[in-house]
């Protein structure tokens, strides 16, 4: 039933879906009842003549009591059920594996207990409960994976937690669900649910080097740069078609002369691009805020090269 | 069906309301408005409650920087002004124009004294580099007393208008002292809110 609810890929989805189904049944029942009676009355009692007889009925305590009590009972059931399922969502099991999450305008950083880090991509193991410990560096963001039926706002100045057990191998969208500024709709990331074997390999750092799922060697640097551009969240701040987003556009960037904050100018070449990615604050472009995070330790030299190759193609 | 005319009052000025109705309506309207004032300050009281519960030590340490004697004097001044205002309403009821003006005048002076006092308090704070962004306590202090001060100013305007109206002889016969009573209600509220602000800000034991 894909138009109706997204596929369920966590242990929590079933209980949320059950109560959703119940509420849907109740709602459809009442909606159909109300519409049918309304349309029925409208047809049956439509005015056929000006002096049509009407009944003088002002109230009926019995029926009024009935239609107060029945919805009241149903609503209490919905409340209780919703709460029970909510308790489950709120209380992680003790054995859950912890992952630190940092949300900032407009990207996601993940840090695993092994010390590994990844950006805009979360790696979790199938059927192993994870507990995310989340903080925000700036404004409120919200961690949302529709297929897991989980969502939690992340407030600055403290930690929020969220847990789930992924049940299906695959890649799922992670969306920022709390409005956080101009990059809000691009604050997307992926959740990669790996089978235990693949996860072990990823942990060891074999094959899946530095978090990349795509095997690096098989594609050209430009294509790889293009992937990185969207995976690493550059697209949140840099357009490739000349539009101003948060940072300067990449279109026609390579080879042009950039005016810096201190008034000096610099030619955009490979070295400048590399420096801009690793140390954005070193040379600030005039007229932009210092919002770009440093990608040192996140992007490997290879990846930066790929990005630069990609940027060079954008004319 | 039957449509009889409304009784004697309908001829009167305005849109045909008797003065009693107007008087009661105005008073009732003012009470409703006072309710909104309570909730306007309510946000600040709620913030106060929350932050005080969160940071008791900060509140205790910061409040020491407030001048209790100035606060006490202001409390006394404001209570006294409430008293003279109540007396003024009573004078208006008795159509005693002279006393009405005197009492309103005293109320006004008290209000002004309160303002002057507050001015010294604020400037002393600024002098010691205490501003609304110093910490949450002082943010609350400035927001609460500042909003209250705004109400004092508004109240002073109302009292001044009442004095002028009294001078013009507007509160002579009938129920026409309504403005005095309604203005008085407003002024008492200003006092009432201060009664809470004083211990909350100055007297944190």
């Amino acid at each position: 039933m894909s138009t109706w609810i997204p596929e369920s890929a966590s242990n929590l989805a079933a209980s949320v879906d059950n109560i959703t189904l119940f509420v849907t049944i109740v709602s459809v029942f009442f909606f159909v009842l109300i519409s049918a009676v309304l349309v029925g009355f409208a047809i049956k009692y439509r005015r056929k003549s000006e002096d049509q007889e009407t009944a003088y009925i002002t109230h009926n305590s019995l029926i009024e009591t009935i239609w107060t009590i029945i919805p009241a009972i149903l609503l209490m059931v919905i409340f209780a059920w919703g709460w029970i399922a909510f308790k489950e969502l709120r209380n992680p099991p003790a054995e859950a594996i912890e992952v630190n999450v940092v949300a900032k305008q407009w990207l996601w950083e993940f840090e695993y207990f092994t010390g590994k880090k990844s950006l805009n991509e979360l790696f979790v193991q199938q059927n192993k409960p994870v507990r995310l410990i989340m903080r925000s560096d700036d404004v409120i963001h919200s961690f949302f994976v529709p297929q897991f039926r989980v969502k939690q706002d992340i407030l600055p100045g403290g930690y929020q937690q969220l847990w789930f057990t992924p049940t299906k191998v695959g890649t799922f969208d992670l969306l920022c669900a709390e409005y956080c500024g101009s990059g809000h709709s691009q604050m997307l990331a992926k959740v990669n649910v790996l089978s235990p074997e693949a996860f072990a390999r990823w942990e060891k750092g074999d094959e899946l080097e530095e978090g990349a799922v795509v095997a690096a060697s098989s594609i050209s640097p430009v294509e790889r740069g293009k992937d990185l551009y969207s995976q690493r969240g550059c697209l949140a701040c840099h357009s490739i078609d000349g539009k101003e987003v948060i940072g300067p556009t990449f279109k026609n960037l390579y080879g042009k002369t950039e005016i810096l904050q201190d008034g000096s100018s610099v030619l955009v070449d490979e070295n400048y691009l590399r420096e801009s990615i690793y140390e954005p604050e070193a040379k600030m472009v005039k007229g932009y805020p210092p919002t770009m995070p440093s990608f040192k330790g996140i992007l490997s030299e290879d990846e930066v090269t790929a990005l630069i190759e990609y940027i060079k193609t954008l004319k | 069906m039957s449509t009889t005319a409304q009784h004697a009052e309908s001829h009167a000025h305005g849109h045909g309301l008797g003065e009693t109705v107007t008087h009661n309506a105005a008073k009732f309207g003012m009470w409703l408005f006072l309710g909104t004032e309570i909730l306007l300050f309510g946000g600040l009281f709620a913030a106060y409650a929350l932050f005080r519960a969160k940071y008791p030590d900060l509140f205790y340490e910061s409040h020491k920087k407030l001048d209790i004697s100035l606060g006490t004097i202001n409390t006394i001044v404001l209570i006294f002004s409430s008293f003279t205002m109540a007396m003024a309403v009573s004078a208006a009821q008795k159509r005693n124009r002279k006393w009405l003006m005197i009492l309103l005048g005293v109320t006004f002076i008290c209000a002004a004294a309160f303002g002057v006092n507050k001015y010294f308090e604020y400037s002393a704070k600024f002098h010691h580099d205490i501003f609304p962004d110093t910490n949450i306590f002082f943010a609350l202090y400035f927001m609460m007393t500042g909003l209250h001060m705004l109400h004092v100013f508004l109240g002073m305007g109302i009292i001044l208008a009442l004095i002028i109206m009294a001078k013009q002889g507007r509160f002579k016969e009938g129920n026409r002292y309504t403005p005095v009573e309604v203005g008085g209600l407003y002024w008492h509220l200003v006092d009432l809110i201060w009664i809470y602000l004083f211990p909350l800000l100055y007297l944190i034991g």
Binding site: T58, N60, F79, V139 | G29
Partner: protein, 543 residues
């Protein structure tokens, strides 16, 4: 209730006086009602056009209509703030409320006509500030959530100030109405005879009076936060962003009932007239408005279930949210029961009223999804919310508003519109509305977050349908608007009768448009407002 048309010795309609001054300095509640009607309709149009722009943008996943995501964000901020603060909150309460309240209770004006004019001016001042703020529009969303609203480079202070000023207008109107209803009812207009629109206005007035000051102080604190850095809502300074949300929703939840209860009132007036039946369960409808007005103060945290509030608080507020659905359910059932054994005429206003019942039920039932904790976790801040709120606000309030416009049209203006065109417009509005917003429920279930200028491509078909729907809806509204404006410009289209639908309530017992002083003599009410068909049934009983 006075059945016969009242004799008006010197009938001078309230519209007779001409000239700008006679409008902007008027203390006549009917004219003030018109002033509100015109301004809120204007803002509805502007807000609607912004929405059309947003929908156009969302037709494809990429950015194509707006130049940047920020522009889109500004657009929905503007759309939300205009629609909520400038159109729907003052909306029916201020326009129809002002016009009808004294007429319906048999008074010459509201209790404080000059304060009434003052509220309108304050409203205008608020709109002026807003228009000024448009030069540097904010991009915070209509909810102004901190700390984003503190940190954004956009100028938030101006728009906040505009909304703050508007609040006073709301407060004064609420105060005025409560006093009027208490003190100025005509002799014999007892509480149990009062038209339900008046009951609804009273319940709304309570909310306006007592909820608005809290948003007032909240916005003031936000301004102070930006201007003086006071740090109440800023975690970096020991503040609490959730406190802002608490304050904001303490007002804004009751505000959604400020929006809907007057529409309930209109529906309760239209249905009995066109069904020629007494309203079913009068007392239940009247009291349930009050129940809603009271309970709605206790449910605000249901907007914050995933914002990091405690589980205890979430449970309490989910429970209370369920409670508020009960009085609403009562009303829906009562309206339908009123149709039973009636004689139903499908006047355009009745069509709006009937579609109100259907659409509001959808909106309300989806509200129950959101009130249930576990479901809200999945649906919060998705298009499901967008669909829910438009179903209650357009399917509910706007349908009620349009119904009221068609029902009291000749009372306001002394003209009649083309009924056939009105029905055609209704059809387009009804269809267009559903096509626009029904797909959004599915989109929300699928996980499409709200406030997204661009979106993952998988949602494209829902978005495209929704955009086409908005065009149908816009066309319907356009036709309706033209249909209602045309008669005003002509020197014809006068109504044949001053009480064409055979209504029993007081405002229809005076000529249309009403005379300047409303009533020659203040009437004495002797019967219930809704005793439709009573005489006949009494006669039948005797037989």
């Amino acid at each position: 209730m006075a059945n016969g048309v009242m004799t008006q010795t010197q009938y001078i309609p309230y519209l007779a006086q001409k000239g700008l001054k006679s409008w902007i300095l008027t203390t006549d509640h009917k004219r003030i009602g018109i002033l509100y009607l015109v301004t809120i309709s204007f803002f509805f149009m502007i807000g609607g056009l912004t929405a059309l722009g947003m929908r156009y943008e969302l037709m494809t996943p990429e950015l194509d209509f707006f130049r940047s995501t920020t522009e889109y964000n500004v657009a929905f901020t503007l759309h939300g703030s205009l629609m909520v603060f400038f159109f729907i909150v003052p909306g029916i309460a201020a326009s129809f409320g002002n016009f009808l309240l004294p007429l319906m209770i048999g008074a010459r004006d509201v209790a404080f006509p000059r304060i009434n004019l003052l509220s309108f001016w304050i409203y205008l001042a608020g709109t002026a500030i807003l228009l000024f703020a448009l030069m540097q529009p904010a991009d915070t969303g209509w909810t102004f959530y901190t700390p984003y609203s503190i940190q954004t480079g956009a100028k938030v202070i101006m728009i906040t100030l505009g909304v703050f000023v508007l609040g006073f207008s709301s407060i004064l109107t609420g105060m005025n109405f409560i006093v009027t209803i208490h003190k100025l009812r005509a002799p014999g207009m007892t509480w149990s005879r009062l038209p339900l629109f008046i009951w609804a206005s009273y319940a709304t007035a309570i909310l306006q009076l007592l909820a608005t000051p809290v948003v007032g102080i909240t916005l003031l604190l936000l301004i102070a936060e930006r201007a003086f850095d006071i740090g109440f809502f800023d975690p970096a300074k020991g503040g609490d962003p959730i406190l802002f949300q608490n304050f904001f929703w303490f007002y804004s939840h009751p505000a959604v009932y400020i929006m809907i209860i007057p529409a309930f009132g209109i529906i309760s007036e239209i249905i009995p007239v066109f069904a020629r039946k007494p309203i079913f369960g009068y007392k239940a409808i009247a009291y349930s408005s009050f129940a809603i007005a009271i309970i709605s103060f206790f449910v605000w945290m249901h907007h914050m279930f995933v914002s990091g509030i405690s589980e205890t608080a979430a449970a309490i507020f989910s429970f209370l949210t369920m409670l508020v659905a009960i009085p609403t359910a009562i009303k829906v059932f009562n309206w339908i029961a009123t149709l039973y054994k009636g004689s139903i005429e499908f006047h355009s206003s009745m069509l709006y009223a009937l579609s109100f019942i259907v659409l509001f039920t959808i909106g309300g039932l989806t509200g129950v999804y959101l009130g249930a904790l576990a479901i809200d976790v999945h649906l919060h801040d998705t298009y499901f919310i967008v669909a829910h709120m438009h179903y209650v606000m357009i399917g509910g309030t706007v349908m009620g508003f349009f119904g009221g416009l068609h029902f009291w049209y000749q009372k306001w203006f002394g003209k009649v519109f083309n009924e056939l065109t009105a029905k055609a417009a209704w059809f387009l509005v009804f269809v267009g509305f559903n096509v626009t917003f029904f797909p959004q429920f599915f989109m929300g279930f699928q996980g499409m977050p709200r406030r997204y200028a661009t979106y993952p491509a998988e949602y494209i078909s829902y978005h495209a349908i929704s955009t086409y729907g908005s065009w149908i809806l816009g066309l319907g509204i356009l036709i309706m608007t033209v249909n209602l404006l045309l008669p005003l410009m002509k020197k014809s289209n006068y109504p044949k009768s001053s009480n064409p639908y055979g209504s029993l309530s007081l405002e229809w017992q005076v000529p249309s448009p009403p005379p300047h002083e409303n009533f020659d003599k203040i009437p004495t009410v002797t019967d219930w407002t809704y005793s439709y068909g009573k005489n006949r049934s009494e006669a039948n009983a005797k037989k």
